[in-house]
């Protein structure tokens, strides 16, 4: 960012040309959530009990395990996009921007990886 000529002051502050992709990904994953989260909630509401045996047996079945893994991909990505928009709106200092950039690019993926490993372990035996 220059501070000399008028063009120098605004150069690099325009569109990154990634906005449309971000917008569409947000909508696409929203549609995914519209299927996945009601599936999770209805499944939880209809369970005869919420003890370990019941919940584990449910999560180990192919369809629920698939839905849980899709939630860990789709919903986590949707959340990541939304958090990014929120941070872009409220974080304006350069140091904060770098921290925010590291956060949205590491934490959601780390969380999703932990969740997917957990579901795989539930579904394929282990504990």
């Amino acid at each position: 960012m220059g501070n000399g000529t008028s063009i120098g002051r605004v150069r690099g502050l325009g569109s990154s040309h990634h906005g449309t992709g971000h917008f569409l990904s947000s909508r696409l994953t929203a549609v995914g959530n519209l299927v996945l989260i009601p599936f999770l909630m209805i499944s939880l509401a209809l369970m005869p009990s919420h003890d370990y045996a019941t919940v584990h047996a449910w999560a180990a079945k192919p369809l629920p395990a698939t839905a849980l893994i899709l939630i860990l991909i789709n919903t986590f990505y949707h959340a990541r996009l939304g958090i990014q928009v929120m941070l872009e709106d409220y974080v304006h200092e350069n140091g904060g921007k770098i921290a925010a950039w590291l956060f949205v690019n590491f934490v959601p993926f780390a969380g999703a990886a932990f969740g997917i490993v957990s579901v795989v372990r539930i579904a394929l035996g282990g504990a």
């Binding site: 960012m1 002051r9 605004v10 502050l13 909508r27 929203a30 959530n33 519209l34 989260i37 909630m41 939880l44 509401a45 209809l46 005869p48 919420h50 370990y52 919940v55 584990h56 999560a59 849980l68 939630i71 860990l72 919903t75 986590f76 959340a79 939304g82 958090i83 929120m86 304006h92 969380g111 932990f114 969740g115 490993v117 957990s118 579901v119 372990r121 539930i122 282990g126 504990a127």
Partner: protein, 141 residues
């Protein structure tokens, strides 16, 4: 933020606007979204990880979030757990309803003042009703 030198006009601050349904729903969409992302997904990861960890870790999850068999600190966290779970359910339904409203707005419909206010209010009525129905189903099942 680069700004041209000198005073630039600022839009009125939040407190100066007259509150309206569309404004409230817009703010709720962000708050519920961030709440679901930070609190909801964290709790979801704990839950999935606890199931994967085996019966003992799952029992720890249940004890701290809902059951509180040992009393003490767990009484507080289990009360908090119930409030948070009901809150997350409401947040999901509110975020879902206002998200569907966004789909309608995305195609350029629903901007007439009365229509916009009506559908904004309906998302709130829906989220409260759906939360009640969901928890009635869970607790009376």
């Amino acid at each position: 933020m680069a700004q041209a030198p000198g005073k630039r006009p600022l839009s009125p601050h939040l407190e100066i606007w007259r509150w309206g349904p569309a404004m409230l729903v817009s703010i709720l969409h962000r708050i519920t979204g961030e709440g679901l992302a930070f609190v909801g997904l964290s709790l979801f990861l704990w839950w999935v990880g606890a199931i994967a960890g085996g019966p003992e870790s799952y029992q720890t999850f249940l004890d701290w979030v809902w059951l509180a068999p040992d009393g003490g600190l767990q009484t507080a966290t289990a009360l908090l757990g119930k409030v948070v779970l009901v809150g997350l359910t409401w947040a999901f339904f509110q975020h879902m309803a206002s998200g569907i409203r966004h789909f309608v707005l995305d195609i350029g419909a629903g901007y007439e003042l009365e229509t916009n206010a009506r559908w904004s209010l309906l998302t709130i009525l829906f989220s409260v009703a759906a939360t009640s129905v969901f928890w009635a189903a869970v607790l009376l099942h």
